[in-house]
C-alpha cells in the first residue's frame, strides 16, 4: 500500500445515460512512468479529471498519495501537478509571472519560490525568456512552461494529458528527455496519456489500455506483448481495441476549441 501513489477501486462515471468510465480498478506504483492509453472517447480524460478533483465520480474510490479525491480534495490537490490537454497558461502574463502566480496559489514561500522558479525555468530552457509574454510562444515552448509550472510545488505525481500532442518530433524528444530525467532524479511518478504509442513503448514502465470505459489490460510492455503475441505496442493496442474508428459526437468543448482557433487564442 505504501508503494502505490494512485489507488483506484470500482471507479464509475455516468453522464445521464452514458457510462464514460465503467467500474475500473487499477493502481500506480510510486516513482513509475505510467502510460494511460486508449482510443478517443475511451474515458481517459474523464478518469484523469476525477483523479485531479475536477470531476466527481458517480461511484468508487480514488486515493492519490493516500488522500481521498472526494472527501479530502485539498490534500489531493497539493499532491499532484498537471499539464492539461488544452493550454491553461495566461497569455497576457510573462513566463515569470505565470510561474509566480502558481507559486502564490500553492503558498510557496517567497524566497523558496524565487530559487525554484529559476531552477525550473533553467531546466526547461526558458530562463532567458522569463520576461516574454506567453502569447508570443510556440506550442512547444508553452508545453515546456506548463511542465515547469506543474513541478513548482514539488508534486508527488505529475499528470500529463497528451503532453506532446501537435508537437514536432524534435520538441517531443526534448520534452521526453525532461520527463525521463525527472523521474530518475527526483522519483516523481509520471502519469501520462498519449496517442503516440511509440512514446509509451519507449518510456513507460507500465501501461494500461482503456476502451469503452473499461481497462482492457494493464502491465509492463513485455507482458502486454506476450499476452497479445505481437511485436510492437501499436499492434498489441490495435488487437486489443479493434480497428473501428471511434465516433465522438461534437461536444460543447469541441465548439469552444473551434471558436478559439478562429479567434487565434
Amino acid at each position: 500500500m505504501n508503494d502505490t501513489i494512485v489507488q483506484v477501486t470500482g471507479l464509475t462515471k455516468k453522464f445521464k445515460d452514458f457510462t464514460a468510465v465503467d467500474n475500473i480498478t487499477f493502481s500506480v506504483p510510486k516513482g513509475e512512468i505510467f502510460a494511460f492509453l486508449g482510443p478517443n472517447g475511451a474515458g481517459k480524460t474523464t478518469t484523469i479529471k476525477m483523479l485531479t478533483t475536477l470531476l466527481l465520480p458517480t461511484s468508487g474510490t480514488i486515493l492519490v498519495n493516500g488522500h481521498n479525491a472526494v472527501t479530502d480534495q485539498h490534500d489531493v490537490r497539493k499532491s499532484f501537478g498537471i499539464v492539461f490537454q488544452d493550454p491553461s497558461l495566461e497569455d497576457e502574463l510573462t513566463t515569470y509571472e505565470n510561474m509566480e502566480f502558481h507559486g502564490v496559489l500553492y503558498s510557496i514561500p517567497k524566497e523558496e519560490r524565487k530559487i525554484r522558479i529559476k531552477s525550473l525555468l533553467t531546466f526547461v530552457e526558458l530562463w532567458d525568456r522569463k520576461d516574454s509574454l506567453v502569447k508570443t510562444f510556440s506550442g512547444g515552448m508553452k508545453r515546456r512552461l506548463e511542465i515547469a509550472r506543474g513541478l513548482l510545488h514539488h508534486p508527488k505525481i505529475f499528470f500529463l494529458d497528451e503532453p506532446t500532442q501537435g508537437l514536432d518530433p524534435q520538441t517531443r524528444n526534448h520534452i521526453w528527455s525532461y520527463l525521463k530525467n525527472l523521474s530518475s532524479k527526483e522519483g516523481i511518478t509520471i502519469f501520462f496519456t498519449t496517442h503516440y504509442l511509440e512514446e509509451a513503448q519507449e518510456y513507460a514502465d507500465r501501461i494500461a489500455i482503456m476502451d469503452h470505459g473499461h481497462i482492457v489490460t494493464e502491465g509492463t510492455l513485455k507482458t502486454l506483448l506476450k499476452q497479445t503475441k505481437k511485436a510492437t505496442l501499436e499492434e498489441a493496442f490495435l488487437s486489443l481495441t479493434g480497428n473501428d474508428i471511434r465516433e465522438e459526437s461534437a461536444s460543447g468543448i469541441d465548439a469552444l476549441r473551434r471558436h478559439r482557433q478562429m479567434r487565434g487564442r
Binding site: 499532484f80 502574463l93 502558481h102 460543447g252
Partner: protein, 247 residues
Amino acid sequence: MNAIYILWLRELKRYFRSRSRMIGSLGQPLLFLLALGFGLGPIFQKAGQGSYFQFLGPGVICMSILFTAIFSGIQVIWDKQFGFLKETLVAPIPRLHIMLGKTLGGATIATFQGIVVFFLAVLFGFRPELTLLPLTVLYMLLVAVFFTGLGITIASLLEDINGFQIIMNFLVQPLFFLSGALFPLNNLPKAISIVTSFDPLTYGVDGIRGTLIGVSHFGLMLDFITLVVLTLCVLTIGAYFFSKIQI
C-alpha cells in the same frame, strides 16, 4: 487571502495589457453619449426636462460598467476550458477565494472603465456636481461587483458558449434598456414602470445620477440598500454555483 489578491492582480494585468480591448469597449458608450445625447437633446429640452446630455451621462457610465462587468464574468466560460481558471481549480485553495478574486478583479476593471467614460463625458460637456463624487464611485463599485458576480454565476451554469447570444439578447440588453439609463422613470406606462423597478441596474443608474446631477427617483438611501442586498445575494448564489463547477 494571497490567492484572492493574485487573482485580482491577474485580471488587472490582463486588462491593462490589452489596450485594444480597452479602447474598443469605449466605442459603444461614446456612440450612445454623442448620438443620443446630442440627437435627442433638443426634444428633451422642448419637453421641459432640461439638458438630456446631463441626464444621459450617468446612464452611459452605468452602461459601460454593466457591459464590462458582465463580460469579464462570462469570460469564465472560455476560461474553464482554456484559461488560467483550470489551473486555479486544481490548486489547493478554496473555490470561494477564486470566485472572490475574479469578481473583485472584474469589478475593479469595470469601475475603472466607468471612470474613463465619466471623463469622456466631461470632455464633451457633461457638468457634474463634484461634492458627492466619492459616493458616485461607491455606487459604481456596487454595480460593478453585482454584474461581475452575475456574469460569473451565469458562466458557472453554462456548459459552452452556445447560450451566450441568448444571454446577451434576453438578459444584458434588456437590463440596460429597461433601467432608466436612457429615459426618466416618472410618468411611465404602468407596465414599463413595474419592469424597470425590478431591474437591478435601475438602482445603480439612479444612485449614480443622484450623486452626479442631484436627480434621483428612488432616493440615494433606497438605491444603496437595494444594491447592497442584491450584491450580497448574487455573491452568495454565485459562490455556491462556482463551487459546484465540474469540468
